[in-house]
Chain length 475, copies 3
């Protein structure tokens, strides 16, 4: 009988890879230290109404594939029924051959539902019925615990309440769930009305007026402190490029006041203000022992027409080709110069820049801890086999792969945890190839230890998270 | 006996690849929707005088290799005899090992002349004699029909007469030959004397004076209409980067008038004017259902000394490293915003930008048709195995490979049709590797259908060409 | 018994590769035409006091790895004992798996000391003792002659005395050692005090005052002449990007005078002045028949804090993402326009630019000699298997690999000559893969000749070095 597409040794193309994966990688629990999952759904232990809600709603990767396949928006984000939307997706899947969606789709059907059929129009009915039947036993907590997710970090705005996080801590969920401080909106002063609306939300979150720039900084710092108390150990920043033309506190305040008054500042003023704030955030992180995560290189909101009707994060973002090196070096150096560079993770979206980012990390390793400055895992458009291998190779050649803190899902969907499995298979396959080619020593206990470090130990030690108790694997 | 270098399974390194190629790919006819072949030679069913005229004259790929090999210009573009030039090439071929020219050379000798020897100084005499002997039965129409070229699109200036195209339609040639609208010279206002000479050619082609900017736009639009009537279904644009700083009609007219008066405009004025025209062309294409082809990233005419003596397109062009993403997004968005974005093919010359272009296509897929915005096939310096694989991988990972409209020769030589075979072998080899590695399902009918779509069906359906009748394969 | 990690066929993954390497590549002597070895240590036939002095001091590749591994600066560049520093390195080696340091470390232990153990904390003692015991028979001349280094080019400042080179010529060393003219400091006018200190050193070297710009040019030209007399046949230039906005002699003199007076010029003035000088250097080289080496793309001195305490070249340099193509084309074209472009080698540090550089070489091949403009070997951060393969592939696809002048160590350490072996193994492995895949003809004598050309013959013929007599191989 033909083995299923997602079989026991999927992506493991050599004997050492199979040993490394099955003896080491697959036994490791998950620390998913960056994703966009909903704290509210975790707190509520949400039960999904159907497979479309769980799997398709909110997944802009799939939406882009549907649009490229000529599917009308009605069946993607529109008013078609959940089942119609699912059928549109099922019909598109055979057109995603060689796209990571083809692998993720079948990996997720296999791991969550035990479904090993290839999804297409012919199997859509059976898959729809079978998966929906299982949903009552696949509530959010089930999904987290089944995958041994020991730590999970959501992404939270400083204006967000931490109530859901409090509720999660008080729930029976074994997974430790922590917020991540993501103050991107503090920088978005070039859209003053949105900025001021957000500033007002921040006022509510901090229960105090934000009139002056000092009020503003105090409010942000107060949230930083409260996030710390809630277990947060990292901030995260989404930027085209690193702002690196800092100005004085007085100048930043001046620019803030103009935005508060509804005026649009110049690009230079934006950069000065953003640089000032980014240095502040860096210093706050350093003093708290937090990690600083920089997600650089996205070119966002490229389609005004569909952005207008669908809003942001709906599949119209892309990869930019900005110059990165000099500004990134200047920013990191400004923090390092006063010994205030926190542990830092650089996530790069343009694969042409992998080597630039990997080389950059080496400039700011100062021997205080192993792997202080990290080349972040392969991200968004690069979260697929080729992209993962490029990131691993750049890191290997220019730094210490063995100190890597590993992969994250970066996902908005509770079915995405098998992406850790995917990464681990790719990692083991690559290492196994090295053993077969004689480029790595034929010492599987040594390489296996390295696998465990990259999959779990390094990240456990890198952040200062309070760990969850062990979660028994479900088999 | 040792098999010839170009053997039955050339480049097909695994069993599924061989099946995919021989059962699917090689049976497909050719639609060569972008090249630089001469409509005049097609109309005349030109007979070539010797192998040098057919194979070496005009091929700047070979000229660059000859120069890099230390061959004097006399034997390349100079007054050496055709036979001397051929010998210089034969002596250079063994120095092209690992260059695509080594493959193309032997593929073309094998496919057109049945010659399976490796070309070098020792075999030059025999090859010269044998090939020249066969030339009488290798006139242009023979070459097109033998390769089952069902559709062929030349590249034509709006100032070019369409007389040759008319003559071709009236000839016995089975291949359908259509012009492509390439109005690059309309943008070249920074060289006013060349621009005005070309404008006068356009006046003749439209039989009317071009005094005002409105005259100019009307003349171009008239040609656009006449090209449509001649079966043209696409425009093509060669640009360093996408002009994306549009101005008003009045401003563009002002800049046009200055050029018409012989004045050199500023770079900013050029960009504004070029942006205005490119939006016009995009809208005309949208209203006609044409495809818009953008060839971005070449850095041309780098060698003034040899450009001065040899003119353009003689081997002194190169790859630029321009920022592309933001301007390209802005241009496509400006068209999309009013629902006037035509089907679009983005050809990228800098391989570092493959992912940027591939991601960009996804921003403007709107579900109206499958694969509306395409990542164009691997082009010029990238038209070789490594470059083809990179393009296929970028497209696969960020879009839908199965919707790809496939390869073109982009050639100036009538012997280049085996480049389709070359591409198809690389494609099948890559897909076969995926099957062997378990990254694609082991379902050869499914993958075979995908091969046929990429080689023929997709492109047939993408453009609105009137198809030729089937052409019997010659074996 | 398990073979050692660095075994007879290390990196040679196929049968043709093994034949190509053992029958052709490994028999070739070495011409190491670019490195940073100390002429003083060569002249003195220096004997190293311990393995740390020979192997770790000055090697910023290892220093970066140590810092990334969390090792304190005391054990890297600080006051720890040589043995303590060695132990810190031994403990770090197992964390360099997949980094080129892991290969180089064991290759160097094997080739120089016959040590085949893997270095780690468990083997550190034995390795330390064994290697130190052998040092008396591993003086500098031993190391050069054992590796059949026929020519070695150091990198020398125009202000450097050539006394060491004179002493080397008069010594018994068989290796021919030549200086390379590296006038980078002549461009560094934006740091006037360092510039003027260097200018004074140049005064001493030329025994004359440098008051005017003409004095300055004369002094540099005098050194160029004296370097030529000492056997120098190449200059070398380390630049972020190619300066290509030339000014007049008068303007350059004006800018020079301002620097001489201690004033910091504008970036535009720097570029004009640097462009003027780079054109001068190019012309001098052309008239002497020297090669011009351009090392482009490094982003240097990124860490002010550690730069302040440790100085330059200590591991805080990185890869830049500067636009390169247009300026490089303009510079080369300015020299070519008057027929004064010397043979030129373009070394690129950003792997995303490999194709841009490779394509650029083709614009200035003029048929005067084979391979006049070269894509330089894989350099610094790219001197590892992946980087070497990328460089070979870019060169192969866009130029003539068979005309390549091959690899250099670019090293500061006398143990680095096995990097030639490393390169040759990677080259043979790649060519052998091509033979196995049928992408190269199965004609090993032909491919073997190509290997010999790339490893030795091409470089011997490219530069005009006076060759050393043959050096018997030590086995």
């Amino acid at each position: 009988m033909k083995p299923p597409f997602i079989h026991h040794d999927f992506l493991l193309g050599n004997e050492p890879a199979r040993k490394l994966y099955h003896r080491h990688a697959e036994l490791q629990p998950i620390i998913d230290y960056h994703n966009h999952l909903s704290p509210g759904q975790i707190a509520a232990n949400h039960q999904f109404g159907d497979l479309t809600e769980l799997w398709l709603s909110g997944d802009h990767y799939k939406w882009r594939a549907l649009r490229a396949n000529g599917v009308s928006e009605r069946f993607i984000t529109g008013d078609a029924s959940p089942e119609e939307k699912f059928r549109a997706w099922a019909a598109t899947v055979p057109y995603t051959l060689r796209n990571p969606l083809y692998h993720w789709t079948h990996l997720e059907l296999a791991r969550h539902f035990g479904i090993n059929e290839l999804l297409d129009v012919g199997t859509a009915d059976r898959v729809w019925r079978e998966a929906n039947t299982q949903l009552p036993s696949l509530r959010v907590h089930d999904l987290l615990e089944r995958h041994q997710v020991r730590v999970l970090c959501t992404t939270d705005d400083p204006a967000d309440s931490l109530d859901h996080h409090r509720a999660i801590r008080e729930s029976k969920l074994k997974t430790r769930v922590y917020p991540t401080f993501r103050p991107d909106k503090a920088l978005h002063i070039r859209q003053p009305s949105a900025f001021n609306a957000w500033r007002e939300r921040l006022e509510q979150a901090t229960a105090g007026p934000i009139k002056t720039f000092d009020d503003f900084l105090s409010a942000l710092k107060k949230r930083h402190d409260e996030f710390h108390a809630a277990g947060c150990r990292a901030s995260d920043h989404g930027l085209e490029t690193c702002p690196a033309s800092p100005c004085s506190h007085a100048q930043a305040g001046h620019i803030f006041n103009a935005a508060r008054a509804g005026n649009v500042c110049s690009p230079e003023e934006y950069s000065a203000y953003a640089s000032f704030l980014m240095l502040e955030f860096g210093r706050w992180n350093a003093s708290r022992g937090w990690a600083l995560q920089l997600h650089l290189g996205a070119l966002r909101n490229n389609n005004s027409r569909l952005l207008g009707s669908l809003g942001p994060d709906t599949g119209f973002d892309s990869i930019g080709d900005f110059p990165q090196a000099s500004a990134l070096a200047a920013y990191l150096n400004a923090l390092d110069d006063t010994n205030e560079l926190p542990r830092t993770i650089l996530y790069n979206l343009n694969p042409a820049d992998n080597y630039i980012f990997a080389a950059m990390t080496g400039n700011f390793q100062d021997g205080v801890m192993p792997g202080k400055v990290q080349l972040g895992g392969s991200w968004w458009f690069l979260d697929q086999k080729e992209g993962i291998e490029w990131q691993l190779n750049a890191l290997s050649n220019l730094g210490l792969l063995r100190r890597f803190v590993g992969m994250v899902t970066d996902s908005r969907c509770f079915l995405s945890f098998p992406r850790h499995e995917y990464f681990r298979r790719v990692l083991c396959n690559l290492l196994g190839q090295g053993v077969v080619a004689g480029e790595l020593p034929s010492d599987l206990p040594l390489i296996g230890k390295m696998v465990e470090e990259i999959c779990f130990t390094n990240v456990r030690d890198y952040f200062g998270f309070e760990p969850s108790p062990e979660i028994a694997p479900c088999l």
